[in-house]
């Protein structure tokens, strides 16, 4: 699984895979000390169930960041895909396939729109996706103005079940890792790395730069759709604000996972661990008896610190770029 932890091979500039793993170990140890029965089947199942959306969106963000971009609309895409799916399924199991297809379609269209705006209209990714995020979250409110709708009971039950003692949610995370592993073997991902690493060199080397960028945003959208399905399976109902917090968390997970925000360097393996670290921190804050009113501050500070971690190498080599 060499491709899952490429950060291990490349020193400097970004967090190494070792640092990511170290953070994970510390988070697990602290969490298991604080959360009663952390290792019990029930706690594991419910923990993993809450991790999946962030893990999925972090993988999607990784692909976009690797291509040299960033997608600030991923959270809004999760929201839009989830409310569309919940409206379609409307509690009936036989409509599940249509709902899943609709969610993936929303992710595809949103991703394609971002890709077009970034690659062809040539807007800065960060501003362009910021603008589209308002379009998507506004549409989500149109589709589902207030929290509601229901997911078939079978789905939520299955999501929290276990197969041969392994929680389904953990299988979902492994499935996402496997999906990434497969994608890495595809030409599109190779081109994503090349374009993110050095767009001009990639262009001169016959890589289709614009098409590659669009593909990256489309993949990001598809992973956002998977995150949306996980959100629905976990909560059992629709919420037109559910994705708000996920965008920034996905960026933070990517950074903790050792992917360079400059693009071209890193991988989703690290981001998956990074997402789990972030989710565990939320858990820790909860079980450490931090007063309710301080929880958000601690969580916000953790994300800023994670982003700052990526900037520390910049401190060392600070010199005018004359």
């Amino acid at each position: 699984m060499r491709g899952l932890f490429p950060g291990v091979r490349l020193p400097g500039v970004q967090l190494s895979g070792a640092a990511t793993v170290a953070m994970l170990v510390v988070a697990v140890v602290v969490n298991s000390a604080l959360q009663p029965n952390f290792w019990s089947g029930y706690a594991l199942t419910s923990n993993f169930a809450t991790f999946v959306p962030l893990v999925a969106i972090a993988v999607g963000q990784t692909v976009v960041v690797l291509s040299g971009g960033i997608d600030l609309s991923l959270g809004a895409q999760v929201t839009l895909a989830s409310v569309v799916a919940v409206r379609i399924v409307d509690g009936q199991l036989d409509r599940l396939p249509q709902a899943v297809a609709a969610a993936l379609g929303v992710g595809l269209v949103c991703g394609a729109l971002n890709g077009l705006v970034v690659a062809l209209v040539r807007l800065q990714p960060i501003v362009a996706t910021f603008a589209t995020s308002f379009v998507f979250s506004g549409l989500a409110l149109v589709v589902l103005p207030t929290p509601g709708g229901s997911v078939p009971l079978e789905v939520t039950t299955a999501y929290r079940a276990a197969v041969l003692g392994v929680p389904v949610a953990l299988l979902a995370i492994l499935g996402l890792a496997l999906l990434w592993w497969v994608l890495r073997r595809h030409r599109v991902l190779r081109h994503v790395y090349a374009v993110g690493g050095d767009p001009e060199a990639a262009y001169a080397s016959l890589v289709p730069v614009a098409r590659t960028r669009i593909s990256a945003y489309v993949l990001g959208g598809l992973f956002a759709a998977l995150a949306a399905l996980a959100v629905l399976a976990n909560t059992g109902s629709g919420d037109p604000f559910v994705g708000n917090e996920l965008t920034l968390a996905s960026v933070a997970a990517v950074v903790i996972g050792g992917t360079s925000l400059a693009g071209g360097r890193g991988g989703a393996g690290g981001s998956i661990l990074g997402a789990i670290v972030l989710a565990l921190v939320t858990n820790i804050v909860f079980f450490a008896d931090v007063p309710t009113t301080y929880r958000q501050l601690v969580n916000g500070a953790v994300i800023i610190l994670a982003l700052a971690l990526a900037g520390i190498p910049a401190l060392q080599k600070r010199r005018p770029a004359a």
Binding site: I70, L72, V117, V121, R122, L123, Q124, I126, V127, A128, F130, A131, T132, S133, F134, V135, F136, S137, G138, L139, A140, L141, V142, P145, P199, E200, Y203, V209, E245, T247, L248, V251, A252, L261, T292, T293, Y294, R295, Q296, L297, V298, N299, G300, A301, I303, I304, L307, A308, A310, G311, I312, A314, L315, R318, P320, A321, A322
Partner: protein, 326 residues
């Protein structure tokens, strides 16, 4: 705004409408459209009311203009949250008593400036992209608000503040509009007639050249973020004076419009070009547009969509990047 040009008379013939004039024209068209759709839309009282709503956005967007001119993807998404926090601090310290106005305003602005300082240091020293840094700061400030209030805003605006903001002085215009004018002139002076302003444009236009001209880009950028947060704090105080009591998401919704107002006013997101006059007109355009959408009975959800689309269209007009092939 800038010195009159006397050197070449033919410039007058080559005049083309700049973004400011265009935005102004759009505002007029929107008002006329509003009057046609719903007679009374362009009435004096109604227009004054729209201007009052625009004033808060206009003051918040002062800082946004400064940060965006600084370039390098500069933007401050935390302005809305900072304004909310400043209002909450102001309200609690004032506790409805005129005697507390000075300490309340001072504390609120100091905390705001501190938040701006952290933003600025994160962006310059740690090289965190400004969008990401200030988006992350929203979460932190929200956390600070919860920690400070315990989830329940308290206090009340001092009566003097309320009468300053809401009191009608001349032509039945509220004091708020005169305050906006004053702050706007301050912003224009800061940008056009101070070393800070000229350094800011230089850093935004070409950071490398600025550094090689003896400008200290880091210091200029940090100051830009401090000013942005401070003006946001000021807007929060004005909002407090208007609403008299606060709630926990008082000014949050100003995040997107503050960026949009700057872009509509012709300030380039790439930095180095633009000014506050455009932003002020941009704030009016957006406010009139919102008023029109409300008149047309278009709900909040669609309004958000329209805002996003408006921003995208404007960006495609002004904010494109260069091609790989030369």
């Amino acid at each position: 705004m800038s010195a009159p040009t006397v050197e070449t008379p033919r410039r007058a013939l080559a005049w083309r409408p700049g973004p400011v004039a265009l935005a102004g024209a759009v505002a007029v068209v929107l008002v006329i459209a509003g009057e046609l759709v719903s007679p009374g839309f362009a009435g004096y009282g109604q227009l004054v009311n729209l201007m009052r709503v625009a004033a808060f956005l206009g003051v918040i967007a002062i800082g946004q203009t400064i940060v965006i001119i600084a370039g390098g993807g500069g933007v401050d998404l935390s302005v809305g949250k900072v304004a909310t926090f400043a209002a909450i601090i102001g309200s609690r310290v004032m506790a409805g008593d005129d005697a507390n106005i000075v300490p309340a305003v001072a504390l609120a602005l100091l905390v705001s400036a501190g938040i701006g300082l952290v933003n600025g240091l994160g962006v310059t020293l740690l090289r965190i992209p400004p969008f990401v840094m200030t988006l992350g700061m929203i979460g932190v400030v929200q956390g600070l608000i919860l920690a400070y209030t315990g989830g329940q805003a308290s206090g009340r605006a001092a009566p003097a503040l309320t009468s300053l903001v809401n009191g009608r002085i001349v032509f039945d215009l509220p004091g708020l509009l005169f305050l906006w004018l004053l702050l706007g002139l301050l912003a224009v002076w800061l940008l056009r007639r101070t070393t800070f302003g000229w350094n800011l444009y230089a850093v935004g236009a070409n950071r490398t050249a600025a550094e090689l001209t003896g400008v200290r880009p880091g210091r200029t950028l940090v100051l830009a973020y401090v000013l942005s947060a401070t003006f946001a704090g000021l807007a929060g105080i004005l909002l407090l004076g208007y609403t008299e009591s606060v709630f926990l998401d008082l000014a949050d919704q100003y995040m997107l419009p503050s960026v949009a107002a700057v872009v509509i006013g012709g300030t380039l997101l790439a930095g180095g070009i633009g000014g506050y006059a455009g932003t002020a007109v941009g704030a009016i355009v957006l406010t009139v547009l919102q008023g029109l959408l409300t008149t047309l009975d278009i709900g909040g959800a669609w309004r958000t969509v329209v805002n996003g689309v408006v921003l995208l269209v404007l960006l495609s007009l002004y904010g494109r990047q260069r091609r790989l092939r030369s």
